[in-house]
Amino acid sequence: MSTETKEKLRYERPMIRKMNAGLMNKFGTRTEYQPTSHIDTVPVKRIIEQYGSPCFVISERTIRKTYQSALRAFKTRYPKVQFAWSYKTNYLDAVCKVFHQEGAWAEVVSGFEYEKAIRNGVPGNKILFNGPDKTIAELKQAIENESTIHIDHFDELYDLIEIVETSKKKAKVAIRVNMDVGVYPLWDRFGFNYESYQAWNAITKIMNCEKMELVGLHTHIGTFMLTAGAYGIAASKLCDLAMNIKAKWNKSIQYIDMGGGFASTNTLRGSYLPGNDISPSFDDYAEVITSTILNYGFKQEDLPLLMLESGRALIDDAGYLVGSVLANKRLADGRRATIMDFGVNILFTAFWYEHKISPAQEFTHHSEDMVVYGPLCMNIDKVRESVNLPLLNRGDHVVVHKVGAYNMTQWMQFIAMRPNVVMIDMKGEVHLIRKNETIETLTDLESIPAHLNAFKL
Protein backbone atom coordinates (compact mmCIF):
# COMPACT_ATOMS: atom_id res chain seq x y z
CA MET A 1 0.00 0.00 0.00
CA SER A 2 2.69 2.46 0.99
CA THR A 3 4.77 1.72 -2.11
CA GLU A 4 1.69 2.28 -4.18
CA THR A 5 1.12 5.69 -2.57
CA LYS A 6 4.70 6.62 -3.26
CA GLU A 7 4.35 5.87 -6.93
CA LYS A 8 1.35 8.13 -7.27
CA LEU A 9 1.94 11.48 -8.88
CA ARG A 10 1.94 14.72 -7.00
CA TYR A 11 -1.52 16.16 -7.30
CA GLU A 12 -2.21 19.61 -8.56
CA ARG A 13 -5.60 21.25 -8.81
CA PRO A 14 -6.91 20.98 -12.42
CA MET A 15 -6.60 24.27 -14.24
CA ILE A 16 -6.83 25.65 -17.71
CA ARG A 17 -5.61 29.00 -18.83
CA LYS A 18 -6.66 30.85 -21.89
CA MET A 19 -3.77 31.84 -24.08
CA ASN A 20 -3.87 35.37 -25.39
CA ALA A 21 -1.22 35.33 -28.04
CA GLY A 22 0.74 38.55 -28.21
CA LEU A 23 -0.98 40.23 -25.28
CA MET A 24 1.04 41.18 -22.22
CA ASN A 25 -1.05 40.49 -19.20
CA LYS A 26 -1.10 43.00 -16.39
CA PHE A 27 0.72 40.63 -14.11
CA GLY A 28 3.83 41.08 -16.20
CA THR A 29 5.88 38.38 -17.74
CA ARG A 30 5.39 34.76 -16.91
CA THR A 31 6.51 33.84 -13.47
CA GLU A 32 10.07 32.65 -13.17
CA TYR A 33 9.42 31.43 -9.68
CA GLN A 34 11.81 29.11 -8.00
CA PRO A 35 10.60 27.23 -5.01
CA THR A 36 12.17 28.48 -1.79
CA SER A 37 12.56 25.14 -0.10
CA HIS A 38 15.40 26.28 2.17
CA ILE A 39 16.33 29.43 4.04
CA ASP A 40 20.07 29.61 4.66
CA THR A 41 20.42 25.82 4.17
CA VAL A 42 17.58 25.04 6.61
CA PRO A 43 14.55 23.27 5.06
CA VAL A 44 11.39 25.35 5.39
CA LYS A 45 9.51 22.14 6.07
CA ARG A 46 11.64 21.43 9.11
CA ILE A 47 11.15 24.94 10.48
CA ILE A 48 7.39 24.53 10.22
CA GLU A 49 7.46 21.06 11.77
CA GLN A 50 9.44 22.36 14.69
CA TYR A 51 8.11 25.87 15.19
CA GLY A 52 4.67 25.78 13.65
CA SER A 53 3.02 27.70 10.86
CA PRO A 54 3.16 30.64 10.40
CA CYS A 55 6.61 31.49 11.72
CA PHE A 56 8.97 34.41 11.17
CA VAL A 57 12.51 33.47 10.21
CA ILE A 58 15.47 35.82 10.46
CA SER A 59 18.78 35.22 8.78
CA GLU A 60 21.70 36.40 10.89
CA ARG A 61 23.94 36.00 7.87
CA THR A 62 21.83 38.36 5.77
CA ILE A 63 21.71 40.99 8.53
CA ARG A 64 25.50 41.02 8.80
CA LYS A 65 26.01 40.96 5.06
CA THR A 66 23.58 43.85 4.50
CA TYR A 67 25.03 45.90 7.33
CA GLN A 68 28.56 45.41 6.08
CA SER A 69 27.69 46.41 2.55
CA ALA A 70 25.91 49.56 3.77
CA LEU A 71 28.87 50.46 5.97
CA ARG A 72 31.30 49.80 3.13
CA ALA A 73 29.35 52.10 0.80
CA PHE A 74 29.83 54.99 3.21
CA LYS A 75 33.26 54.18 4.68
CA THR A 76 34.88 53.97 1.28
CA ARG A 77 33.71 57.53 0.61
CA TYR A 78 33.90 59.32 3.94
CA PRO A 79 36.32 59.06 6.86
CA LYS A 80 33.94 59.07 9.83
CA VAL A 81 30.72 57.03 9.69
CA GLN A 82 28.53 55.63 12.44
CA PHE A 83 25.26 53.70 12.14
CA ALA A 84 22.70 53.70 14.96
CA TRP A 85 20.22 50.83 14.80
CA SER A 86 16.68 52.16 14.54
CA TYR A 87 14.98 50.11 17.25
CA LYS A 88 11.43 50.62 16.06
CA THR A 89 12.17 48.82 12.81
CA ASN A 90 12.80 45.57 14.63
CA TYR A 91 13.53 45.59 18.34
CA LEU A 92 13.74 41.90 19.01
CA ASP A 93 16.76 41.70 21.30
CA ALA A 94 18.55 39.08 19.21
CA VAL A 95 18.23 41.28 16.13
CA CYS A 96 19.44 44.40 17.96
CA LYS A 97 22.41 42.50 19.32
CA VAL A 98 23.53 41.38 15.87
CA PHE A 99 23.60 45.05 14.87
CA HIS A 100 25.42 46.05 18.06
CA GLN A 101 27.98 43.30 17.47
CA GLU A 102 28.52 44.79 14.05
CA GLY A 103 29.18 48.15 15.70
CA ALA A 104 25.86 49.98 15.43
CA TRP A 105 24.77 52.32 18.23
CA ALA A 106 21.09 52.48 19.22
CA GLU A 107 18.49 54.96 17.95
CA VAL A 108 15.33 54.96 20.06
CA VAL A 109 12.09 56.93 20.02
CA SER A 110 10.46 56.11 23.35
CA GLY A 111 11.23 55.36 26.96
CA PHE A 112 10.43 51.73 26.32
CA GLU A 113 12.90 51.48 23.44
CA TYR A 114 15.48 53.37 25.52
CA GLU A 115 15.13 50.82 28.27
CA LYS A 116 15.51 48.00 25.79
CA ALA A 117 18.76 49.48 24.49
CA ILE A 118 20.13 49.83 28.04
CA ARG A 119 19.11 46.25 28.86
CA ASN A 120 20.85 45.10 25.70
CA GLY A 121 24.03 46.57 27.12
CA VAL A 122 24.36 49.61 24.86
CA PRO A 123 26.40 52.27 26.73
CA GLY A 124 24.27 55.32 27.47
CA ASN A 125 26.51 57.61 25.44
CA LYS A 126 25.91 55.47 22.37
CA ILE A 127 22.14 55.92 22.42
CA LEU A 128 20.41 58.59 20.33
CA PHE A 129 17.08 59.50 21.90
CA ASN A 130 14.63 60.66 19.21
CA GLY A 131 10.91 61.28 19.12
CA PRO A 132 8.34 63.79 20.35
CA ASP A 133 7.42 61.84 23.48
CA LYS A 134 10.04 61.89 26.23
CA THR A 135 8.91 62.28 29.84
CA ILE A 136 10.76 64.48 32.33
CA ALA A 137 12.04 61.33 34.07
CA GLU A 138 13.26 59.92 30.78
CA LEU A 139 15.02 63.16 29.89
CA LYS A 140 16.73 63.18 33.29
CA GLN A 141 17.84 59.59 32.84
CA ALA A 142 19.20 60.36 29.38
CA ILE A 143 21.21 63.30 30.75
CA GLU A 144 22.56 61.12 33.56
CA ASN A 145 23.58 58.40 31.05
CA GLU A 146 25.12 60.96 28.68
CA SER A 147 22.88 59.91 25.83
CA THR A 148 22.26 62.40 23.08
CA ILE A 149 18.80 63.89 23.22
CA HIS A 150 17.44 64.81 19.81
CA ILE A 151 15.08 67.64 20.64
CA ASP A 152 11.85 67.56 18.67
CA HIS A 153 9.92 70.69 19.66
CA PHE A 154 10.15 73.89 21.67
CA ASP A 155 8.17 72.52 24.61
CA GLU A 156 10.78 69.81 25.00
CA LEU A 157 13.55 72.37 24.69
CA TYR A 158 11.97 74.45 27.51
CA ASP A 159 11.60 71.31 29.64
CA LEU A 160 15.29 70.62 29.17
CA ILE A 161 16.34 74.18 29.97
CA GLU A 162 14.48 73.79 33.25
CA ILE A 163 15.85 70.33 34.02
CA VAL A 164 19.51 71.24 33.47
CA GLU A 165 19.27 74.12 35.92
CA THR A 166 19.33 71.59 38.75
CA SER A 167 21.24 68.71 37.15
CA LYS A 168 24.92 68.13 37.78
CA LYS A 169 25.66 67.05 34.26
CA LYS A 170 25.38 69.00 31.05
CA ALA A 171 22.77 67.74 28.61
CA LYS A 172 24.16 66.51 25.29
CA VAL A 173 21.65 67.54 22.66
CA ALA A 174 20.98 67.67 18.95
CA ILE A 175 17.98 69.12 17.18
CA ARG A 176 15.84 67.40 14.66
CA VAL A 177 15.48 69.60 11.61
CA ASN A 178 12.70 69.36 9.03
CA MET A 179 13.06 70.92 5.63
CA ASP A 180 11.95 71.06 2.03
CA VAL A 181 13.93 68.49 0.07
CA GLY A 182 11.64 68.50 -2.94
CA VAL A 183 9.78 65.36 -1.90
CA TYR A 184 6.17 65.84 -0.87
CA PRO A 185 4.34 65.66 1.44
CA LEU A 186 6.93 67.30 3.69
CA TRP A 187 7.60 65.60 6.97
CA ASP A 188 7.28 68.84 8.89
CA ARG A 189 5.53 67.55 11.97
CA PHE A 190 8.80 66.45 13.53
CA GLY A 191 11.56 68.78 14.59
CA PHE A 192 12.28 72.40 13.80
CA ASN A 193 11.83 73.86 10.35
CA TYR A 194 14.90 74.96 8.44
CA GLU A 195 13.44 77.37 5.90
CA SER A 196 11.49 79.43 8.45
CA TYR A 197 14.54 79.86 10.74
CA GLN A 198 12.80 77.86 13.45
CA ALA A 199 15.82 75.57 13.56
CA TRP A 200 18.19 78.50 13.86
CA ASN A 201 16.05 79.91 16.62
CA ALA A 202 16.24 76.63 18.55
CA ILE A 203 20.00 76.44 17.99
CA THR A 204 20.40 79.96 19.37
CA LYS A 205 18.45 79.05 22.52
CA ILE A 206 20.60 75.97 23.05
CA MET A 207 23.86 77.86 22.46
CA ASN A 208 22.74 80.41 25.01
CA CYS A 209 22.16 77.75 27.66
CA GLU A 210 25.37 76.91 29.44
CA LYS A 211 24.27 73.55 30.69
CA MET A 212 23.49 72.20 27.24
CA GLU A 213 25.96 71.14 24.62
CA LEU A 214 24.86 71.04 20.99
CA VAL A 215 26.66 67.99 19.62
CA GLY A 216 24.66 67.16 16.52
CA LEU A 217 22.19 68.11 13.84
CA HIS A 218 19.62 65.55 12.87
CA THR A 219 17.08 65.07 10.14
CA HIS A 220 14.91 62.21 8.92
CA ILE A 221 13.36 63.26 5.65
CA GLY A 222 10.93 60.40 5.14
CA THR A 223 10.81 56.70 4.59
CA PHE A 224 11.34 54.58 1.47
CA MET A 225 12.88 57.55 -0.33
CA LEU A 226 13.20 56.64 -3.98
CA THR A 227 15.27 59.68 -4.91
CA ALA A 228 18.78 59.69 -3.53
CA GLY A 229 19.05 63.34 -4.56
CA ALA A 230 16.78 64.42 -1.72
CA TYR A 231 19.55 63.43 0.70
CA GLY A 232 21.91 65.79 -1.06
CA ILE A 233 19.57 68.71 -0.40
CA ALA A 234 19.07 67.60 3.21
CA ALA A 235 22.80 67.20 3.82
CA SER A 236 23.58 70.63 2.40
CA LYS A 237 20.98 72.27 4.67
CA LEU A 238 22.45 70.59 7.76
CA CYS A 239 25.95 71.58 6.59
CA ASP A 240 24.75 75.14 6.21
CA LEU A 241 23.54 75.16 9.82
CA ALA A 242 26.83 73.64 10.99
CA MET A 243 28.85 76.27 9.11
CA ASN A 244 26.76 79.09 10.56
CA ILE A 245 27.20 77.71 14.05
CA LYS A 246 30.95 77.63 13.49
CA ALA A 247 30.91 81.19 12.17
CA LYS A 248 28.79 82.61 14.95
CA TRP A 249 30.01 80.71 18.03
CA ASN A 250 33.22 79.11 16.77
CA LYS A 251 31.74 75.78 17.70
CA SER A 252 32.27 72.61 15.62
CA ILE A 253 29.33 70.29 15.41
CA GLN A 254 30.36 66.69 16.22
CA TYR A 255 27.94 64.91 13.94
CA ILE A 256 25.43 65.27 11.19
CA ASP A 257 22.72 62.64 11.41
CA MET A 258 20.93 61.91 8.12
CA GLY A 259 18.30 59.69 9.77
CA GLY A 260 16.86 56.70 7.93
CA GLY A 261 14.57 56.35 4.95
CA PHE A 262 16.69 54.39 2.49
CA ALA A 263 14.42 52.17 0.40
CA SER A 264 14.68 48.42 0.62
CA THR A 265 14.30 46.37 -2.54
CA ASN A 266 10.66 45.57 -1.81
CA THR A 267 8.09 46.60 -4.41
CA LEU A 268 5.69 49.32 -3.30
CA ARG A 269 2.02 48.61 -3.85
CA GLY A 270 0.82 49.98 -7.14
CA SER A 271 4.35 50.45 -8.46
CA TYR A 272 4.77 49.50 -12.08
CA LEU A 273 8.33 48.41 -11.65
CA PRO A 274 9.74 45.96 -9.14
CA GLY A 275 11.68 47.47 -6.24
CA ASN A 276 14.81 45.66 -7.37
CA ASP A 277 14.85 47.87 -10.45
CA ILE A 278 14.03 51.25 -8.95
CA SER A 279 15.29 51.40 -5.38
CA PRO A 280 18.57 53.33 -5.11
CA SER A 281 21.46 51.28 -3.74
CA PHE A 282 23.50 52.09 -0.62
CA ASP A 283 26.18 53.35 -3.02
CA ASP A 284 23.72 55.77 -4.63
CA TYR A 285 22.70 57.26 -1.28
CA ALA A 286 26.28 57.27 0.00
CA GLU A 287 27.59 59.02 -3.08
CA VAL A 288 25.11 61.91 -2.79
CA ILE A 289 25.43 62.36 0.96
CA THR A 290 29.19 62.09 1.29
CA SER A 291 30.01 64.20 -1.76
CA THR A 292 27.70 66.94 -0.49
CA ILE A 293 29.40 67.05 2.90
CA LEU A 294 32.93 66.69 1.54
CA ASN A 295 32.40 69.49 -0.96
CA TYR A 296 30.73 71.85 1.47
CA GLY A 297 33.97 73.47 2.57
CA PHE A 298 34.59 72.17 6.10
CA LYS A 299 38.16 72.33 7.33
CA GLN A 300 39.57 68.82 7.65
CA GLU A 301 39.45 68.95 11.46
CA ASP A 302 35.87 70.19 11.45
CA LEU A 303 34.52 67.47 9.21
CA PRO A 304 31.55 66.10 11.14
CA LEU A 305 30.94 62.45 11.92
CA LEU A 306 28.26 61.13 9.57
CA MET A 307 25.55 59.37 11.57
CA LEU A 308 22.94 57.15 9.90
CA GLU A 309 19.75 55.64 11.32
CA SER A 310 18.82 53.36 8.47
CA GLY A 311 16.07 50.90 9.40
CA ARG A 312 14.22 48.99 6.74
CA ALA A 313 17.05 48.90 4.22
CA LEU A 314 19.20 47.05 6.76
CA ILE A 315 16.71 44.43 7.91
CA ASP A 316 13.99 43.85 5.30
CA ASP A 317 15.98 41.29 3.31
CA ALA A 318 16.88 39.27 6.40
CA GLY A 319 13.28 38.50 7.39
CA TYR A 320 11.04 35.77 6.00
CA LEU A 321 7.56 34.67 6.92
CA VAL A 322 6.84 31.00 6.34
CA GLY A 323 3.23 29.90 6.28
CA SER A 324 0.73 27.46 4.81
CA VAL A 325 -2.24 27.36 2.49
CA LEU A 326 -5.48 27.00 4.46
CA ALA A 327 -7.87 26.85 1.53
CA ASN A 328 -8.44 27.53 -2.14
CA LYS A 329 -11.55 29.19 -3.45
CA ARG A 330 -13.14 30.39 -6.57
CA LEU A 331 -14.64 33.85 -6.11
CA ALA A 332 -18.02 34.74 -7.56
CA ASP A 333 -16.35 36.60 -10.43
CA GLY A 334 -14.27 33.58 -11.37
CA ARG A 335 -11.03 34.77 -9.82
CA ARG A 336 -8.99 32.38 -7.75
CA ALA A 337 -8.40 33.04 -4.10
CA THR A 338 -5.90 31.41 -1.81
CA ILE A 339 -6.33 31.72 1.93
CA MET A 340 -3.13 31.63 3.96
CA ASP A 341 -2.67 31.08 7.66
CA PHE A 342 -1.09 34.54 7.98
CA GLY A 343 -2.66 37.89 7.26
CA VAL A 344 -2.20 41.59 7.82
CA ASN A 345 -2.32 40.97 11.56
CA ILE A 346 1.27 39.77 11.48
CA LEU A 347 2.23 40.99 8.00
CA PHE A 348 1.48 44.64 8.47
CA THR A 349 3.72 45.60 5.54
CA ALA A 350 1.26 43.94 3.15
CA PHE A 351 -0.44 47.36 3.27
CA TRP A 352 2.66 48.92 1.66
CA TYR A 353 4.40 46.25 -0.32
CA GLU A 354 3.65 43.71 -2.98
CA HIS A 355 5.55 41.08 -1.11
CA LYS A 356 7.13 38.34 -3.12
CA ILE A 357 5.64 34.97 -2.19
CA SER A 358 7.32 31.69 -3.20
CA PRO A 359 6.05 28.16 -2.81
CA ALA A 360 8.30 26.15 -0.51
CA GLN A 361 8.01 22.97 -2.56
CA GLU A 362 8.38 21.86 -6.17
CA PHE A 363 5.60 22.77 -8.57
CA THR A 364 4.79 22.47 -12.25
CA HIS A 365 5.13 25.32 -14.71
CA HIS A 366 1.42 26.05 -14.50
CA SER A 367 0.44 29.19 -12.72
CA GLU A 368 -2.63 31.28 -12.19
CA ASP A 369 -3.65 34.75 -11.16
CA MET A 370 -5.04 34.90 -7.68
CA VAL A 371 -5.90 37.01 -4.68
CA VAL A 372 -4.02 36.01 -1.54
CA TYR A 373 -6.06 36.43 1.62
CA GLY A 374 -5.13 36.07 5.26
CA PRO A 375 -7.27 34.17 7.77
CA LEU A 376 -8.90 37.15 9.49
CA CYS A 377 -12.61 37.75 9.23
CA MET A 378 -12.03 41.16 7.74
CA ASN A 379 -12.18 42.44 4.23
CA ILE A 380 -8.92 44.36 4.64
CA ASP A 381 -7.05 41.14 5.21
CA LYS A 382 -5.44 40.87 1.80
CA VAL A 383 -1.83 39.83 1.48
CA ARG A 384 -1.69 40.28 -2.30
CA GLU A 385 -4.41 41.87 -4.40
CA SER A 386 -3.43 40.00 -7.53
CA VAL A 387 -0.45 37.81 -8.03
CA ASN A 388 0.52 35.10 -10.45
CA LEU A 389 1.61 32.01 -8.57
CA PRO A 390 2.07 28.34 -9.28
CA LEU A 391 -0.92 26.23 -8.29
CA LEU A 392 -0.95 25.72 -4.56
CA ASN A 393 -2.62 22.87 -2.75
CA ARG A 394 -4.13 23.00 0.67
CA GLY A 395 -1.37 22.49 3.24
CA ASP A 396 1.40 23.60 0.88
CA HIS A 397 3.99 25.89 2.43
CA VAL A 398 4.95 29.31 1.17
CA VAL A 399 7.71 31.78 1.96
CA VAL A 400 7.08 35.53 2.01
CA HIS A 401 10.28 37.45 1.34
CA LYS A 402 11.76 40.65 2.76
CA VAL A 403 9.57 41.07 5.80
CA GLY A 404 12.27 41.94 8.35
CA ALA A 405 11.30 45.59 8.86
CA TYR A 406 8.37 46.84 10.92
CA ASN A 407 6.37 43.59 10.98
CA MET A 408 7.80 42.27 14.22
CA THR A 409 7.10 45.63 15.87
CA GLN A 410 3.82 46.70 14.29
CA TRP A 411 2.13 43.29 14.29
CA MET A 412 -1.20 43.14 16.01
CA GLN A 413 -2.59 40.61 18.37
CA PHE A 414 -5.93 40.52 16.59
CA ILE A 415 -8.03 37.35 16.29
CA ALA A 416 -4.88 35.25 16.33
CA MET A 417 -1.76 35.16 18.46
CA ARG A 418 1.66 36.29 17.34
CA PRO A 419 3.73 33.34 16.14
CA ASN A 420 7.24 32.11 16.91
CA VAL A 421 10.21 34.01 15.59
CA VAL A 422 13.40 32.07 14.91
CA MET A 423 16.86 33.13 13.87
CA ILE A 424 19.18 31.05 11.70
CA ASP A 425 22.72 31.67 12.87
CA MET A 426 25.91 31.81 10.81
CA LYS A 427 26.35 28.05 11.11
CA GLY A 428 22.81 27.23 10.01
CA GLU A 429 21.50 26.50 13.47
CA VAL A 430 17.98 27.59 14.29
CA HIS A 431 17.27 29.48 17.52
CA LEU A 432 13.90 30.48 18.92
CA ILE A 433 14.23 34.22 19.59
CA ARG A 434 10.62 35.03 20.45
CA LYS A 435 8.12 32.48 21.70
CA ASN A 436 4.68 32.36 20.21
CA GLU A 437 1.98 33.93 22.34
CA THR A 438 -0.57 31.77 24.08
CA ILE A 439 -3.97 32.56 25.50
CA GLU A 440 -2.30 33.18 28.87
CA THR A 441 -0.18 35.92 27.33
CA LEU A 442 -3.43 37.85 27.12
CA THR A 443 -5.55 36.59 29.95
CA ASP A 444 -2.72 37.10 32.46
CA LEU A 445 -3.16 40.83 31.89
CA GLU A 446 -6.91 40.78 32.38
CA SER A 447 -8.97 40.76 35.54
CA ILE A 448 -12.66 40.19 36.01
CA PRO A 449 -14.78 42.15 38.51
CA ALA A 450 -16.22 39.65 41.02
CA HIS A 451 -19.84 40.29 40.12
CA LEU A 452 -19.21 39.09 36.55
CA ASN A 453 -17.85 35.71 37.47
CA ALA A 454 -21.00 33.65 37.50
CA PHE A 455 -23.59 33.30 34.79
CA LYS A 456 -26.21 30.84 33.69
CA LEU A 457 -27.03 30.19 30.05
Partner: protein, 83 residues
Protein backbone atom coordinates in the same frame (compact mmCIF):
# COMPACT_ATOMS: atom_id res chain seq x y z
CA UNK B 1 -22.06 17.52 -18.22
CA UNK B 2 -20.32 16.94 -21.52
CA UNK B 3 -17.34 18.58 -23.05
CA UNK B 4 -17.68 19.97 -26.57
CA UNK B 5 -17.06 17.06 -28.88
CA UNK B 6 -14.83 18.90 -31.31
CA UNK B 7 -12.31 20.12 -28.71
CA UNK B 8 -8.79 19.07 -29.57
CA UNK B 9 -6.48 18.20 -26.70
CA UNK B 10 -2.81 17.34 -27.05
CA UNK B 11 -0.78 15.24 -24.66
CA UNK B 12 1.15 18.29 -23.55
CA UNK B 13 -2.07 19.95 -22.41
CA UNK B 14 -2.69 22.24 -25.35
CA UNK B 15 -6.41 22.73 -25.89
CA UNK B 16 -8.06 24.14 -28.97
CA UNK B 17 -11.68 25.03 -29.53
CA UNK B 18 -12.24 25.15 -33.33
CA UNK B 19 -15.67 26.72 -32.88
CA UNK B 20 -14.34 30.08 -31.70
CA UNK B 21 -10.57 29.75 -32.07
CA UNK B 22 -9.84 29.90 -28.33
CA UNK B 23 -6.78 28.06 -27.16
CA UNK B 24 -5.79 27.08 -23.64
CA UNK B 25 -2.97 25.51 -21.75
CA UNK B 26 -3.92 22.97 -19.15
CA UNK B 27 -2.02 21.13 -16.48
CA UNK B 28 -1.72 17.37 -16.16
CA UNK B 29 -4.79 16.80 -14.01
CA UNK B 30 -6.93 19.03 -16.24
CA UNK B 31 -5.68 17.24 -19.35
CA UNK B 32 -6.59 13.90 -17.77
CA UNK B 33 -10.09 15.08 -16.93
CA UNK B 34 -10.73 16.47 -20.39
CA UNK B 35 -9.36 13.36 -22.08
CA UNK B 36 -11.61 11.15 -19.95
CA UNK B 37 -14.59 13.40 -20.60
CA UNK B 38 -13.97 13.05 -24.30
CA UNK B 39 -14.10 9.28 -23.78
CA UNK B 40 -17.56 9.77 -22.30
CA UNK B 41 -16.57 8.59 -18.83
CA UNK B 42 -18.95 9.50 -16.04
CA UNK B 43 -17.85 11.92 -13.37
CA UNK B 44 -17.53 9.08 -10.85
CA UNK B 45 -15.28 7.14 -13.18
CA UNK B 46 -13.14 10.18 -13.77
CA UNK B 47 -12.75 10.91 -10.07
CA UNK B 48 -11.81 7.29 -9.38
CA UNK B 49 -9.25 7.35 -12.15
CA UNK B 50 -7.67 10.49 -10.69
CA UNK B 51 -7.56 9.03 -7.23
CA UNK B 52 -5.76 5.99 -8.54
CA UNK B 53 -3.19 8.03 -10.37
CA UNK B 54 -2.52 10.93 -7.99
CA UNK B 55 -1.63 11.26 -4.36
CA UNK B 56 -4.79 13.05 -3.29
CA UNK B 57 -7.77 12.69 -1.00
CA UNK B 58 -11.22 11.97 -2.28
CA UNK B 59 -12.73 15.10 -0.77
CA UNK B 60 -10.18 17.28 -2.54
CA UNK B 61 -10.99 15.74 -5.89
CA UNK B 62 -14.72 16.12 -5.30
CA UNK B 63 -14.38 19.81 -4.73
CA UNK B 64 -11.79 20.54 -7.37
CA UNK B 65 -13.71 18.56 -9.97
CA UNK B 66 -16.90 20.54 -9.46
CA UNK B 67 -15.03 23.80 -9.65
CA UNK B 68 -13.17 22.73 -12.73
CA UNK B 69 -16.38 21.84 -14.55
CA UNK B 70 -17.63 25.33 -13.73
CA UNK B 71 -14.45 26.78 -15.15
CA UNK B 72 -14.90 24.78 -18.36
CA UNK B 73 -18.40 26.20 -18.57
CA UNK B 74 -17.15 29.74 -18.04
CA UNK B 75 -14.80 29.23 -20.95
CA UNK B 76 -17.54 27.90 -23.27
CA UNK B 77 -16.02 24.43 -23.40
CA UNK B 78 -19.11 22.47 -22.34
CA UNK B 79 -21.84 21.42 -24.69
CA UNK B 80 -25.12 23.04 -23.78
CA UNK B 81 -27.43 20.47 -25.32
CA UNK B 82 -26.26 17.58 -23.14
CA UNK B 83 -27.91 19.15 -20.13
Amino acid sequence: MKILTNIAVSESGYLFNPTNGDSFSSNLVATDIITLMKQNKTSDEIKKALQAKYDVEKSTIERDYDEFIQELGDNYLLSTDGK
